[in-house]
Amino acid sequence: MRTTEIAIIGGGPAGLRAAISAASMGAKVTIIERNENLGGQLVKQTHMFFGSQKQYASTRGIDIAEILLKDLDKYKDRIEIMTNATVLSIFEDGVISIEQDDKYLKIKPQSVIVTTGASEKFLAFPNNDLPGIYGAGAVQTLMNVHGVAPGRSVVMVGAGNIGLIVSYQLMQAGIEVKAILDASPRIGGYLVHASKIRRMGIPILTSHTVKYAHGTDKLQKVTICQLDEKFQQIPGTERDIETDVLCISVGLSPLTELLWQAGCNMKYIPELGGHVPVRDKDLQTSIKGVYVAGDVAGVEEASSAMVEGRLAGLCAAKALGHATADFEELHNDCIEQLNSLRSGHVGEKIRKGLEQVAM
């Protein structure tokens, strides 16, 4: 059977950073990526990132993917890359099974870092499955990666950062954004994004939701309504907006199937997007040798996913005997960066969630 020291499941920002850091310590790494290309969802992020220089602030996501791939290339003698390869299972004895190009493969790593990311949440309302209703990430992929417009006009549900950023990107692509709705009485995203949107004349309707979608085989219009302070629909406040695209941006939930299968101790933490694994300070789960990093460990930002990836890579490599003299220094640097990204008011929810999964 094929072997490796560290298998990394998922080649997005967390997985790539984990591979780079583990390989820089001297470990032999195998990245297993479901898609044809590495980079995960960075490849559709045309906006500039926040954070500090260490997390590539002011750099566009698409360019960060390029930087990571260049860093990866420095260690190419120690990093094996499998693309078009979907991990199907993690067995009790640590064997991982993979489907690649219609072939069934098995690989036995000494440890594994799961960086599978997250998937988009859905919203319940009548006719929510009509073509023309998309997840916000899908709209980004379609227009920013493939250069195809989702439609003529858009109503966005969700005024968090993703909803605001994607609305701006839609306008850049020449598509009209008719309104942004959010069930909450306050805008969830950063003020800098919201101000940019408002300057472009797009109404942000807080305490509003979608009540009904209309159309036969594709979306034609939506009925929206106002919500009271208990998030209940207020009768008589309904109004229709004609649109061929409704974009749902109501958060993400971690893609944890493999962690459940591996037997990791999981907890339901709404602040982190759903069920997530409990983990120690090295990002090791309750199963020895199974590490996590990025959105699968709790939905956050790509910036923190990359730092978590670096941390998990360092720790997994060290546990296999690849200690370097500056390990403590590098480890502390990761912890400090994470603390800084999660500081202040914006990090409050994440901090509250993480407190409940610390092992």
């Binding site: 969802q41 998937s119 988009e120 073509p131 998309y134 899908a138 992929t141 250069g147 692509a173």
Partner: protein
């Protein structure tokens, strides 16, 4: 609809290829997802729900949600949002769960 002008992005596409969808001829770019080529040509309905046969479109675009399953070159349950388009592909609407060959 293809985006022709963009302030920060340029789209490098593969060569133009021909494919069919439910017997009709279509054109797209090699390597782009089948669903993106269909979408650009105005085809919004991709998959169908198993139980009530409700039409389904593009939802997640990254192979997670199963909304875009179609029959491609006789193989059912292909995720057309991630499957790269190739010259001469035969794409068909799938109704039901598809049969194992």
């Amino acid at each position: 609809m293809r985006i022709k002008e963009h302030p920060i992005l340029s789209f490098s596409k593969g060569r133009k290829v021909q494919f069919t969808f439910d017997g009709k001829a279509y054109e797209g770019y090699e390597g782009e997802p089948i669903a993106a080529a269909l979408h650009a040509a105005g085809v919004m309905v991709l998959g169908h729900s198993h139980d009530k046969q409700r039409p389904r479109g593009f939802y997640c675009a990254i192979g997670n949600c199963s909304s875009c399953l179609m029959v491609v070159n006789n193989e059912p349950n292909v995720r057309t949002c991630t499957e790269p388009l190739k010259e001469g592909m035969v794409v068909e609407t799938q109704k039901g769960k598809g049969d194992l060959r």
